[in-house]
């Protein structure tokens, strides 16, 4: 038990360091790259109104899906996730990102819970429930990533 805790303590720092680099990539792609950003940064839209995309995004979607393709948030994301070449790379990145983020987040959460829950049974329940939730999220997350663009 003591050894697995030391390993997890070590892993927590490793995953944390990895997450810094992965988050920079994630934020850049989702928010700042004019072709790939699904949440285009300069706009607040009225209720349920679709944002307008920059020229780079429109050109990218047309190049990938044909001249009739419309630049909607879904299509912008699919430039990466439905591409025959880059999809594997991006899906791989996203799955790794999921695993690392979930391990880091739920290990941290368990540290916090262990500090405030004193009853051993309560700790066990909290631990089991939280890791079950993490596993569930890993499964649905992987499902979303893998099947995207099929």
């Amino acid at each position: 038990m003591a050894q697995t805790n030391a390993l997890n303590w070590f892993l927590h720092r490793i995953t944390g360091t990895f997450l810094i680099f992965m988050l920079i990539t994630h934020f850049w792609v989702q928010h700042y790259d004019h072709q790939a950003a699904s949440v285009t940064h300069e706009v607040v839209t009225e209720k349920n109104e679709m944002p307008d995309y920059p020229e780079e995004a429109k050109a990218g979607v047309e190049a990938r899906f044909g001249p009739d393709a419309e630049a909607t948030p879904y299509q912008v994301v699919m430039q990466r996730l439905a591409d025959p070449v880059y999809a594997v790379l991006w899906k791989g990145f996203n799955i790794l990102f999921l695993i690392v983020a979930l391990h880091h987040g739920f290990y941290g959460l368990n540290n916090v819970m262990t500090d405030y829950i004193r009853n051993p049974m309560g700790r066990l329940v909290a631990k089991s429930l939280s890791w079950t939730l993490a596993l569930g999220l890993l499964i649905i997350g992987m499902y979303s990533v893998i099947t995207a663009g099929w």
């Binding site: 720092r13 944390g16 360091t17 997450l19 810094i20 988050l23 934020f27 928010h31 700042y32 699904s38 949440v39 285009t40 940064h41 300069e42 706009v43 607040v44 839209t45 209720k47 349920n48 109104e49 679709m50 944002p51 909607t72 948030p73 879904y74 299509q75 994301v77 996730l81 999921l98 983020a101 979930l102 987040g105 739920f106 941290g108 959460l109 916090v112 405030y116 004193r118 939730l133 999220l137 649905i140 997350g141 499902y143 979303s144 990533v145 099947t147 995207a148």
Partner: protein, 153 residues
Amino acid sequence: MAVDTKERPPATQQTDATAEQESRVQPYRIRTGMFAWMMHRLTGVGLVVYLVIHIWGLTALTDPETFNALIAKYHSPIFKVGEFGLLVAVAYHAMNGLRIVLIDFLGWSPKQKKLFWTLGAVTLTIVAVGGWPSIYALGEWLLGPGSMPTLFL
């Protein structure tokens, strides 16, 4: 997480108040390191909650209509405010976490005061540069189109 150094001797003194404390919640003694640690926990728990919602939301990727509706919602004012708050939490947690890693793995504890303020400045830069698009979008919405400077967008 809190490392004792020459500058900061171990906190061995126990006051009567803490000795008699039988409650579940210990009153913390708040110094810079303790404040950093508390904020790390708070942002950490917040980020786990966000992570759960975020992964759950991404199930929308299986259907184009649902996904478009979800992203359209992300462009509403309240989500822009949330986006900025998220960046603040992530930037703080990442930079304070980096500080912990540098102290634990590279033994930078003698330099920890300097490290604390340097990373604080880096965090502020990340928040200012990364958060500008959200502030810009909110400003344009509140004050009318063309009222915000474009800067580097």
